[in-house]
Amino acid sequence: MDRLRLATVWFAGCSGCHMSFLDMDEWLVELARFADVVYSPFVDHKQYPENVDVCLVEGAIANTDNLELLCRVRARTRTLVAFGDCAITGNVSAMRNPLGSANHVLRRAYLDPGNLRPALPAEPGVVPRLLDRVLPVHQVVLVEHFLPGCPPSAPQIRQFLENLFAGHGQSGECAKVRFG
């Protein structure tokens, strides 16, 4: 069998889901027997490659960089997994949505608190522009599978991946998986 090409990406989230991934401990060695991690915050690849089999997407889509990379990820990946609550519901990342547009949010964060030199961050080409609304991944592109949790626990991730690799698709243990 060909080795599985696995990727993970980190958008607007706290990286807790990736930490939980690392919590799988020795099973990561097992995983390395049949999968190559071709793109991830854990490895040093700069460009999202072609022909990725499975990609775990952590975090919501909050800025133009997220949006651009997500579109590339979708185009180059067979199976996309919304990984954790931020990717699925927006979660904490989307708590800014009730405040209004990106402009309202930036004003609330940088001008309203009355710092010494109040200014909005603007560095075109360096600091990506915020989207007006933080979006769950499935509202932007097609998502094949969802793994909720904040974060999903290491055993849940492991079981999900084992089922996925075995071709069962969804974990099938929905009762044990919940938001939060």
Partner: protein, 238 residues
């Protein structure tokens, strides 16, 4: 009292006259999901989660306010019902800001548990993300409108169990809000007895004890039923 015999999910069930389909099903060990129902307070059939199919009726009926009848044939979990229940739960999750991970009721929330039971791993509807208030004016309790699903359990506990009549619903449709007295800060209410029955009744993290942080709100659901049974039947059943 006369006994009625009916079938629920193909199972023959004997129930007392005047019992609801929900009670009859629960007595027979058949689970029907509910949100606005709470033992001890009056049922109003608001949340529509307990809708069941009854042979001969073109409409779906809420099990919590439908009385048993002789020969009734009830279906509690057809594909259609499961589909509708899923949709109801997803709409509830999309309507306000239910951020489970930072909610006082994380892990003890009836909405969260029901969503998991119904296999909801994402919400197909767009989140409305309304801007809502948190009322922390009361010395003991808080009200977070972001988490409220308008089940009105708090209103019914306040009116029918405590008899204070502090809590009420204002507005219509998506503008509906739970209010205190004449829509004033809870802490300024002159009728609130600070009994906490509304907090005990709340299925989500909308009502909470002040000072409770993430996942700390655990409620004793049997407390209200105990009070009502004690008052109406003079039975102190723990």
């Amino acid at each position: 009292m006369a006994a009625k015999t009916l079938t629920i999910d193909g199972q023959l069930v004997s129930a007392e006259e005047g019992q609801t389909v929900l009670d009859a099903a629960r007595d027979a060990g058949i689970h029907i999901p509910t949100l606005c129902h709470l033992n001890g307070i009056q049922d109003i059939g608001a949340c529509r989660l307990c809708l069941v199919e009854i042979t001969g009726s073109p409409k779906l009926l809420p099990a919590c306010v439908t009385k048993v009848q002789e020969g009734m044939e009830v279906q509690t979990s057809s594909d259609r019902l499961r589909r509708y229940r899923r949709m109801i739960l997803e709409l509830l999750l999309a309507e306000r800001n239910h951020v489970c991970s930072v909610c006082v009721s994380n892990g003890h929330c009836e909405l969260q548990t029901l969503a998991a039971e119904h296999g909801i791993d994402h919400v197909r509807f767009e989140y409305l993300s309304p801007r809502l208030e948190v009322d922390l004016s009361h010395r003991l309790f808080g009200m977070d409108h972001n988490r409220c699903i308008l089940c009105t359990r708090c209103v019914r506990a306040c009116w029918h169990v405590e008899g204070a009549g502090t809590k009420n619903v204002a507005g219509r449709g998506i503008q509906s809000r739970i209010i205190s007295d004449l829509n004033q800060p809870w802490g300024q209410s002159e009728t609130c007895t600070a009994c906490g029955k509304c907090v005990a009744a709340c299925p989500t993290g909308a009502l909470f004890n002040r000072g409770a942080t993430v996942a700390e709100m655990q409620r004793d659901r049997t407390r209200l039923e105990y009070i009502v049974t004690a008052r109406e039947k003079s039975q102190w059943i723990v």
